[in-house]
Symmetry: C2
Subunit: 368 residues, 2 copies
């Protein structure tokens, strides 16, 4: 059985493989040797694809001005999917890259129609959990899209000259003014840190979910179109699999019953996990005989992404499952206990960062 040799990341590799083919991303394997240190996200192919990550890693090794930039949309509560991104940022911060986190308040307001005061609450939550999960409050640059200097907005104006209606329609299937402005703003987010005024970071890496690739391609095209006038370089990108919700679909705050929010009360976390979709069989007897199917199991995802960081412990979970030694109830309970420990710790730290008034020190809020 080939499956046992590669438990991590196997279960959906076929779909993501198609994604790579279809959009011309590069597979992650050839890049693994360039990483400054192993990380289970890469080894397990949770990060499964990239564009020019190899160039970015080489520049990092050579002591280049390397930055990582990603964005949070303050339109809902922080869930485990976001924790994955924060973990990626932390990894690169520990290896010397400058980290910038965009709070996409303009997009949340204009496209997602969140009220301005509401989005500040969500923003505080995002930032407090980012710090709680280990981002360095003194080294990480957080900013609101609507609270930047003019150089940043100038890029939006300039980019508008070299984007066509047809491109916009192809990317969004819509020409809503809010979406057009939001997409140009995203390009400014990714590219502005190359400007001298914002640190002059030549090598920029954007870690995102695979669904964000169209933005990345537009932004890379814009970098090409402004390579002379503004000396912009293409950003690199890397793509992780979606964190799956507890029903097996993409984790999203729009289906809160299947998402684990970092701010969920602990008893809610427990009851959500205990109801999660697994790879279990119809009956206990059948499962003892045939073994479970971890590649279908959202609880196995939790182990793979967050709970079983070292490969041995993940292998144990996997083998105990497919052999039929451990049934779903027991396995869920174990996952639940470990996840609760992790979340409780984050909640306490996040609360402490807020009550210490640190949020207002790491980000300047817009005046309205």
């Amino acid at each position: 059985m080939a499956i046992t040799l590669d438990p991590w990341g196997h279960f959906t590799i076929e779909d993501y493989g198609k994604l790579i083919e279809q959009f011309g991303m590069m597979p992650i394997d050839p890049v693994l040797d360039l990483l400054p240190k192993n990380h289970h996200f890469f080894q397990r192919k949770i990060v499964f694809g990239h564009r020019d990550l190899d160039l970015w890693l080489k520049a990092l090794k050579e002591g280049g001005r390397n930055a990582v930039l990603t964005g949070f949309m303050p339109s809902g509560h922080v869930h485990l999917g976001h924790l994955m991104v924060i973990e990626e940022l932390k990894y690169f911060q520990e290896h010397g890259a400058q980290i910038t986190v965009v709070i996409a308040d303009a997009e949340a307001y204009a496209v997602r129609k969140v009220k301005r005061d509401q989005l500040f609450n969500y923003s505080e939550e995002y930032i407090s959990y980012a710090l709680a999960a280990g981002l360095d409050p003194y080294k990480t640059k957080f900013y609101f899209q609507t609270n930047q200097r003019s150089e940043y907005y100038r890029l939006i104006h300039m980019f508008s000259r070299k984007v066509t209606t047809a491109e916009m329609e192809a990317i969004y299937g819509s020409l809503e003014p809010a979406k057009i402005v939001a997409s140009l703003t995203q390009a400014a987010d990714i590219l502005h840190i190359q400007l001298e005024e914002y640190g002059g970071f030549e090598n920029v890496l954007v870690p995102v979910g695979a669904d964000q690739d169209p933005h990345i391609r537009l932004t890379r095209d814009l970098a090409d179109r402004f390579s002379e006038e503004l000396k912009l370089k293409r950003p690199s990108s890397m793509y992780h699999k979606f964190a799956r919700g507890l029903d097996g679909n993409k984790m999203s705050s729009s289906r809160p019953e299947y998402a684990v929010f970092l701010s969920d009360p602990i008893d809610i976390v427990k009851s959500k996990i205990m109801k999660a979709l697994t790879g279990g069989r119809a009956t206990a007897d059948e499962q003892r005989e045939l073994g479970g199917e971890p590649w279908k199991c959202t609880v196995f995802d939790l182990y793979s992404y967050y709970l079983a960081i070292d490969d041995r412990s993940l292998k144990d979970v996997y083998n105990d499952c497919i052999s039929g030694r451990t049934l779903c109830g027991e396995c869920k309970l174990k996952a639940c206990n470990e996840l609760v420990k992790l979340i409780k710790n984050l909640q306490e730290l996040a609360k402490r960062y807020i009550s210490a008034g640190l949020i207002n020190k790491v980000i300047e809020y817009p005046s309205f």
Copy 2:
């Protein structure tokens, strides 16, 4: 002949009357009594229509926070049409309104495709002639669209939420990203000075050519849509007739041979005027008999707009023409001499403002 009773503005009043009907502007007559002082632009119906100018004038009389805002597009040289706008600003500045002049560098770059360095040259020209024509360098606020504070750009982001694709298409007949961004930027230009951060001017008047009315209507609609959230009020507007080029069509830098640029060498000005379209007859004899038709004459426009400020002298020009007493050659020569005097004076003053380094003191240039 009814025409002699109302020489100024009569010649195209029918067309502009249709404009008023079609777009729901208000005619200027009922507002004349509210003006702080007569001005030939109003008396001659060169300013022929408005929206809520009466409200603005009443607020001015009551000592309200009144501002006038207009924009210049740095995509070509300054011509007599722009001088008309500057004259309007000067008039309101002398009567206590705060004056703001937008240099529309974002739009010039993105929509008109002017290079960034080139548009700075044009901007300097606009500002120097605005000062030369009498705007107070210490009281007038000039700014570049790409060199503002975040509050201004935040408006662009916020406005994008409440503008539909259909509206954009109706206004521009196009959904080019550059035009969408430019139109939202124009709305921010007009509305931002109501914000506390920019002076909190409650009563804003925008003097523009009639062709700009669609922007005004969109901006007034946006003010309504943000009346609660941002406490925005509808701006007032007033509309002047186009300055006609020397061929009788709208004066424009795209047809330079028919436009009088303030920077034109004096001999060029002379030769342009001498070739201008007049209301003259086929032969001198016929003209002596029938008289000329000043309502067709672009040289009569020059008198009406710029050269014959007091009504008596304009009436003389008019009567000398329709009676056949003065023929076109003589009339042109007289206009030419007076225009040359006016332009020479402006050129000298503009040059002095530039060489004194005053431009850099009244406006801050963007960093790129």
